[in-house]
């Protein structure tokens, strides 16, 4: 399927995104945008950083589809080549390009074969490293678009902006003691409140220990706390610690 005005169609989508206030709305908008290009499945998941937690890693997309349930039930994320290659890829890639440039294990071949059977005949993956601490993969699948440069471009741009809007929505959803904090900061504090050390939090969230300290320092600054003790009091008043 071809698209006549790639830039103007994208700009319309971008404007709609600005009005979205929930992740579900973003998912619906991206679905409407991508469907005419042949897309029938997509998911954007954090694979590194604070959103990379069991409950949050799948930031937006068809998380409740038949394929998603099958994928999660079989723990395919432990072996999926899309995730392994996406973690190091510097640019957008198609399933075909990935398969042609890698020797796949039998399990990886099985995942791709089953994906195909579920209607994910071809796919495009957009790696999104929006900071040193955060890497997400936006995986888009369907039929008839991955070798069309205009569709690739539209989906690539759409993924970047939908992902950023999702981060904004998720970030804006966190507040402690009257102070707005980011999702990353929330997760760092949640683990700190459980008594985890900076090193342990860094390991859990797959970020550096320095980043953990920076996030805590940022919340201290926002909340006016000078010490971790004072921060603890604010957290208790914000009911993060019960």
């Amino acid at each position: 399927m071809t698209v006549n005005s790639p830039l103007s169609d994208f700009i319309k989508f971008q404007h709609k995104l600005e009005t979205a206030t929930t992740v579900n709305e973003i998912t619906m908008l991206f679905a409407d945008y991508a469907k005419p290009m042949g897309v029938n499945y997509f998911v954007c998941a954090a694979i590194q950083g604070a959103y990379c937690t069991p409950e949050m890693s799948r930031m937006l997309g068809y998380n409740d589809s038949e394929w998603s349930r099958h994928y999660m039930a079989n723990k395919y994320y432990l072996d999926d080549l899309v995730i392994k290659y996406g973690a190091i890829a510097r640019k957008v890639f198609t399933y075909e390009e990935m398969i042609n440039s890698h020797d796949m294990t039998e399990r990886q071949k099985l995942i791709m074969r089953e994906a195909h059977d579920f209607g994910l005949a071809e796919g495009l993956v957009v790696p999104l490293r929006s900071s040193d601490d955060h890497l997400a993969l936006f995986s888009i699948a369907g039929r008839g678009f991955s070798n069309d440069p205009k569709c690739r471009g539209q989906l690539h741009m759409g993924a970047i902006y939908a992902h950023e809007r999702a981060l904004q929505v998720l970030d804006g959803a966190y507040e402690i003691g009257g102070v707005n904090i980011t999702k990353t900061q929330h997760d760092v504090l949640s683990y700190a409140a459980l008594g985890k050390t900076d090193g342990e939090i860094a390991t859990i969230l797959n970020i550096t220990e320095g980043s953990v300290s920076k996030h805590i320092a940022a919340v201290k600054q926002k909340s006016g706390a000078h010490t971790r003790l004072q921060l603890g009091a604010i957290l208790r008043s914000g009911r993060l610690i019960h």
Partner: protein, 291 residues
């Protein structure tokens, strides 16, 4: 510190400008292999290095060029309108291409440190960008535009920059690397400068003018001369040795040698002009409209 070379102070800092063009040749031609930019003078200069171009140069404490970027108001000839759009017409909306004195095009960004993620490379990049943003803001620019690696857009958005694409991404591949580029336009305002400084933990003044002057480094250097001379030299491969000899003599400690070389180069420039060679960067604003 970031040295900002404007049309007004160009003579005073011409020596740094020459160093920057030499470094650009080293980075883009010798290291990155962009052979189409190769120059016999080992100075990378193109038609967008005009008298109206502003340069931002990160200098080390010893005065060595570490990083650089240039801007030019899009009311002049821009790479977006004259290079990228003709190359990828299907990916651009020509009506969205800026041609505005207050929208500046950024290009030829480089960091000398080959691994820019190292501490020195990263710091150089951050100072360079903040210096450029602050200068643009001070001069009344309302937006910056240019072509960037597509993956940068996600980072820029996270920093709170208001970035909008001017094209769909265009993918490229070379023997050693591949990627995707996108033309973008981003608003410049006080909030984005403050949030960028905050995110990058950059609290110090990056432009020396506010603290103390960078010592002048005058030189017999005009970018336009070398654009002409390059064309002139290419038409006379037999004279290439003489050209190189004269270039070398320009930095001789012996003033008579320098004067001799300057005389030769001036004569060649005159000859080039008499043969009808023109510096393509000298276009008037009125002739650069995209539409």
């Amino acid at each position: 510190m970031i040295l900002i070379i404007t049309p007004e102070n160009r003579q005073k800092y011409a020596g740094y400008l020459e160093d920057m063009h030499r470094m650009r040749h080293d980075v883009f031609v010798d290291r990155a292999g962009w052979s189409e930019l190769e120059s016999p003078f080992k100075l990378e200069i193109d038609e967008y290095d005009t008298p109206w171009t502003t340069y931002y140069i990160k200098l080390s404490e010893k005065g060595n060029v570490m990083a650089g970027i240039r801007t030019i108001p899009t009311v002049y000839k821009s790479m977006l309108a004259n290079f990228y759009y003709p190359k990828f017409p299907d990916l651009f909306d020509p009506e969205a291409l800026p041609a505005d004195p207050l929208v500046w095009e950024m290009s030829r960004y480089f960091v000398v440190d080959p691994e820019y993620k190292t501490q020195s490379g990263h710091a150089a990049k951050m100072e360079l960008y903040v210096g450029m943003f602050e200068h643009a803001l001070e001069q009344g620019a309302k937006a910056l535009c240019g072509v960037t690696e597509s993956y940068i857009i996600a980072r820029a958005l996270r920093l709170g920059w208001s970035v909008n694409p001017l094209s769909m991404p265009f993918e490229y591949s070379a023997p050693d690397f591949e990627g995707s580029m996108t033309a973008i336009k981003m608003d410049v305002n006080a909030d984005m400068v403050a949030s960028t400084r905050d995110a990058w933990k950059l609290s110090h003044q990056v432009r020396p003018e506010a603290i103390n002057e960078i010592a002048p480094k005058p030189a017999h250097f005009r970018a336009s001369d070398y654009v002409l001379l390059k064309e002139f030299a290419e038409k006379r491969p037999d004279s290439m040795n003489d050209f190189h000899k004269m270039i070398k003599m320009l930095s001789s400690p012996d003033s008579s040698q320098r004067n001799l070389a300057e005389g030769y180069l001036d004569r060649w420039i005159e000859e080039a002009l008499s043969e009808g060679l023109m510096f393509d960067g000298n276009v008037s604003p009125s002739s650069t409209s995209v539409n």
